[in-house]
């Protein structure tokens, strides 16, 4: 116990103070009620996000603002690493790998559109983050590559070389990037699970649980997406499932796939772990597209519940660090959502439902 206190007391105090400064729910409702983007940014001026209001004032470009938000999100991790107990550092770096992989997936998308789909390159190239997150990745070489055959060489000296080489033939054969993207996601969660398993026992339980929940919801989301948009059989999807889920694994996943509604298996899981959220299942929409958005909202509710649990729980664990990241990610995501709702001139009422 004394080791836990020694390990986490400083970071616990620091992060609790930071969490208390996270923008409250009402702020986002007020922001969603603003009639124009300019007024939304005016509201942000009195918050720690005044810097992004300056970017909008200088450029009028919401994508530049989003790029800055992404940089800030990554900086949350990089700035905190020096203050972390060494046991937690590797796990946090594994979380940062997630941002690197997302960015890499964006760059692969640009390459693929350009080279395989022969589409003229779009604006995405301007908003690609080229800063180093964990590794120095050859983004320019990738987006300027002229054939799939170049990929293994480009990634040869990176941690993603083996994954890219493994899927090169499949990308060419299927003319689809999806197998590689799915493999990168699996790689990310493998890193996370590996690092979580290296933690001391109490931390390990918390970290594995949170990673497991994230994997559960991602798997459910994917299954619904494949079923809704691609009408694939379960046998084709099962190979893409990310291992390491917490509750929705094996047969439960199959049941989610086979049931017309999300209700039965997911309600069982929610009833067991999140009784307050389970009540939401009664309101799930019938339309497939809306149901995907519903799952997203469910994920958010579960994350909020997990943050609250971690904050109430024993303070000297890795939980406070993970709760902080989850809370900040949610805060930034909400800002992004409201701003995009403002750009698309969504009514304040509709914007409020997206929060």
């Amino acid at each position: 116990m004394f080791t836990d206190v020694k390990r986490y007391s400083f970071i616990n105090a620091k992060l609790r103070a930071r969490i208390s400064a996270i923008l409250p729910e009402k702020f986002f409702t007020d922001m969603a009620g603003c009639p124009s983007l300019t007024e939304m940014f005016n509201l942000l001026r009195s918050t720690p996000f005044s810097g992004i209001a300056d970017i909008y004032e200088q450029t009028g470009d919401l994508k530049m603002v989003e790029l800055e938000l992404l940089k800030r999100e990554i900086a949350l991790y990089t700035d905190l690493v020096p203050h972390l107990p060494h046991e937690a550092t590797a796990l946090v770096r594994a979380y940062m790998t997630g941002y690197e992989i997302e960015n890499l997936k964006n760059a692969l998308g640009i390459f693929f559109d350009h080279v395989v789909c022969k589409r003229p390159p779009d604006d995405a190239v301007h908003y690609l983050l080229r800063d180093k997150i964990i590794n120095d990745l050859p983004y320019d070489a990738l987006i300027n590559a002229t054939s799939i055959g170049e990929l293994p060489v480009i990634f040869e000296r990176t941690p993603y070389g083996a994954t890219v080489a493994e899927h090169r033939a499949e990308i060419e054969q299927k003319a689809s990037l999806f197998p590689l993207l799915a493999a990168l996601d699996r790689l990310y969660y493998r890193y996370l699970i590996e690092e979580a398993r290296r933690l001391p026992p109490a931390d390990r339980r918390i970290a594995l649980r949170l990673v497991g929940i994230e994997i559960d919801l991602l798997n459910v989301n994917w299954i619904m997406r494949f079923k809704t948009y691609y009408n694939l059989p379960y046998s084709a999807i099962s190979g893409l499932i990310i291992p390491g889920g917490q509750s929705v694994v094996g047969e439960t996943l199959r049941k989610v796939f086979e049931s017309q509604q999300l209700s039965a298996p997911l309600t069982t899981m929610l009833n067991r772990s999140y009784p307050q959220i389970a009540a939401l299942m009664a309101t799930q929409p019938q339309e497939h597209g809306e149901r995907l958005a519903f799952v997203e909202r469910l994920l958010e509710k579960i994350m909020i519940e997990e943050i609250s649990r971690l904050m109430r729980g024993y303070p000297f664990t890795v939980g406070i660090i993970l709760a902080y990241f989850m809370a900040k990610r949610l805060e930034i995501k909400r800002i992004r959502t409201v701003l995009n709702a403002g750009l698309l001139a969504v009514t304040p009422q509709q914007a409020a439902t997206l929060l």
């Binding site: 603003c34 009639p35 124009s36 983007l37 300019t38 007024e39 005016n42 509201l43 001026r45 009195s46 209001a53 909008y56 004032e57 200088q58 450029t59 009028g60 470009d61 919401l62 530049m64 350009h114 003229p120 390159p121 779009d122 604006d123 190239v125 301007h126 320019d140 987006i143 300027n144 590559a145 002229t146």
Partner: protein
């Protein structure tokens, strides 16, 4: 010493005077209104609720006012209702105000859209430059590997007379056109664009009789020109972007007066509707109620009389006679009335909480305790003068309503306290420079205090702070008893740990501590004394649970008895350990004072070592710089630390004895903020 006495006003006026009364009360700005429709069992029966219309209107006005405020705020304009403006609200059209704000919003949004388009061009040119940087080196050999890049090259010639028009047209794509040379009738040119814009660039040049040529000879040396050309375009675009930003600010600043006037109209009408929304009406009369400081009773009566021509009925009730006072939302609000110079200390108090109505306002006591603690921890004539100077500079440079203005005032007070106590200890910038008026702090820390002096050792200094702590804690307990007597909470007065029994135990504990010190820490008072001072009050405390239970008239069960015993044991533990910790906590005052002197002594020792090691002017200069650096560091770190510790001692050792922060601040509806 106590919070200001408040009175509850119930007023009935003729409906035709409603507008004048509203304006008069707004001008006066001393009344915190209560929405009368929510009162129960009051004289409101028979009055119809017409408040919702005004409330809706107030909400609409409030939303518009906040929108306008956000625009003004983005240009650094903080609107205020000017002193000359009265509560006159005629000639107001909410539709017109809304249109004005919408026009402003769409004007700004239009500029942002133009900025977005320019930004898109900036990003394209930046990408072109990036790609040239990455792949353009091969252009020097005459070949550009455009296949492996995101940029596209068109090389060819076009008629000279069309060149200027084509260049202008290309810049809108955007694309860079680099003239390589003229042959009398045609211009040789390289056109660089993003690949996705290639077809657009081709369309522009094709329309101008473009003839493609082989690149080998023409593009030699082109990257430098291309980068220069891109840089020129980028600079022009950024310049344009800056101009648009200035233009967007000007959209507000150029219309500053008009927009501030609009804000004033909105604010006045919002306040007016806010007041009206609390009224209740019959066919001929209006009924309204709210809290007013007793000191403003006469002014209010005069204002209402003038507004109604004498046709009014007012009833004044003191808080103890108001039947709904027990409900928190109707409780009498708290107005603290301290001299303006105590504003920084009132800020410290309200930061902790608002005292309950009728209880002691600790602000004047905080002035004494905070400054004494700060002075003892940071006693230095010179360093205090620096802090005082910083405070004065802050007050002169900051606006009155700046949140840091009060902090500057606090610095002035702290600086002065530091100077006074510095004089008592004879300390100047860390030197024992003057004859101490009280005792030689430096001498005691350095071990060469005068043997005949009253205060001779660090233990004596610690003793002073412990005695000071006992005084502060006793004052806290005394304030608690006064508050409880005024609020008639007799059970708490007697049986609470901060009540008389708690005080009895604390007094006993202090006596026992003194007795031990007097007997060389080897002996406690006799058992009869211990029983009288600690045992009896401790035993009496067990009555707390049963008395509390009896007041609620609940039946007694075995479980209750077990709970009372447990609570009693815990309370005893809290009293004995808590009061001991509270008292010893004041030793930090001595601790920080000692650290302050020790740090300065360390810097002087280091300066002496430098002076001995480096002879001549350089040594003296280095030593002086070291002492200056030491003073700066001590002022910054020790000053901050002393300020925080003094605040902490006030909050946790003093306030917790009597101050529960349960009050609600008095917030009158007023044209101007006059509730200091």
């Amino acid at each position: 010493m106590f919070t200001e006495t408040m009175l509850r006003l119930f007023a009935i006026v003729s409906e035709r005077n409603g507008e004048q009364v509203t304006r008069a009360l707004l001008e006066l700005g001393v009344m915190q209104f209560i929405t009368i429709s929510t009162l129960e069992g009051e004289a409101a029966t028979g009055y119809r609720d017409a408040s919702s219309l005004s409330a809706d209107r107030a909400v609409q006005l409030g939303e518009l006012r906040k929108r306008l405020e956000s625009f003004l705020g983005s240009s650094g304009i903080v609107p205020r209702i000017p002193p000359a403006v009265t509560a006159e609200t005629a000639h107001f059209d909410i539709g017109e105000e809304r249109r004005r704000i919408d026009t402003l919003a769409s004007g700004l949004q239009g500029i942002r859209e133009r900025q977005r388009i320019i930004q898109n061009d900036i990003l394209k040119y930046s990408e072109i430059r990036r790609q040239i940087d990455l792949y353009g080196s091969s252009m020097t050999s005459g070949i550009l590997h455009t296949d492996s890049s995101f940029i596209s090259l068109l090389i060819g010639t076009l008629p000279l007379r069309q060149a200027a028009a084509v260049e202008e047209e290309l810049s809108r794509i955007p694309a860079v056109s680099l003239p390589i040379g003229d042959d009398g009738t045609r211009r040789h040119m390289i056109v660089i664009s993003m690949k996705r814009d290639r077809s657009r660039a081709e369309a522009v040049v094709s329309a101008a009789n473009w003839i493609p040529v082989e690149p080998a000879a023409e593009v030699r040396g082109a990257p430098g020109d291309a980068i220069e050309s891109v840089n020129t375009r980028l600079a022009a675009l950024r310049d344009e972007q800056d101009k648009l930003q200035v233009q967007s600010k000007a959209l507000i600043t150029d219309r500053r007066d008009e927009l501030v006037d609009s804000w004033v109209r909105l604010r006045l009408n919002e306040l007016y509707q806010n007041v009206q929304s609390t009224f209740r009406r019959s066919s001929h009369t209006l009924l309204f109620t709210g809290w007013i400081p007793a000191s403003k009773r006469h002014e209010t009566e005069q204002a209402v009389a003038a507004a109604t021509g004498g046709t009014y009925y007012l009833e004044w009730l003191s808080p103890e006679h108001v039947s709904d006072l027990r409900e928190e939302k109707y409780a009498a609000p708290v107005k603290l009335h301290n001299p303006r110079i105590f504003a920084p200390f009132q800020m410290l108090v309200t930061n902790f909480g608002i005292p309950e109505y009728g209880s002691i306002d600790p602000t004047p006591f905080v002035v004494i305790t905070y400054l004494t603690m700060f002075g003892l921890m940071f006693a230095d004539l010179g360093q205090g003068a620096v802090v005082l100077l910083l405070g004065i500079i802050g007050r002169l440079r900051l606006k009155k309503d700046s949140p840091y203005a009060k902090v500057s005032s606090l610095l002035i007070w702290c600086g002065a306290a530091s100077i006074v106590v510095g004089a008592l200890f004879g300390s100047l910038f860390g030197y024992a420079a003057t004859r101490p008026l009280w005792f030689d702090f430096h001498g005691i820390i350095s071990g060469h205090a005068h043997p005949s002096a009253g205060i001779r050792s660090i233990y004596d200094i610690l003793g002073i702070t412990v005695k000071f702590g006992i005084t502060v804690i006793c004052a806290g307990l005394l304030f608690n008893w006064i508050n409880l007597i005024r609020l008639r909470r007799w059970t708490e007065l007697i049986l609470d740990k901060g009540g008389l029994l708690g005080g009895w135990i604390y007094g006993g504990g202090v006596y026992c501590g003194w007795f031990m010190v007097m007997h060389g820490y080897r002996q406690l008072p006799g058992s009869a004394t211990l029983l009288l001072l600690l045992g009896i009050p401790a035993l009496l405390l067990i009555a707390h649970g049963p008395v509390h239970h009896a007041k609620k008239r609940h039946a007694v069960t075995a479980g209750n008895i077990a709970t009372w015993v447990m609570e009693w044991a815990v309370e005893l533990l809290e009293i004995f350990s808590g009061y001991l910790a509270n008292t010893l906590s004041f030793m930090r005052v001595a601790g920080l004072g000692i650290a302050h002197v020790s740090l300065m002594t360390a810097f002087f020792t280091m300066a002496d070592m430098v002076r001995c090691g480096v002879h001549g002017f350089s040594g003296t200069l280095a030593a002086t710089l070291l002492i200056i650096a030491g003073n700066v560091m001590v002022i910054a770190l020790e000053g901050l630390s002393a300020g925080i510790q003094a605040l902490r001692l006030n909050y946790y050792e003093f306030f917790t004895k009597f101050f529960h922060g349960m009050g609600k601040l008095f917030t009158p509806v007023a044209l101007r903020d006059n509730n200091h």
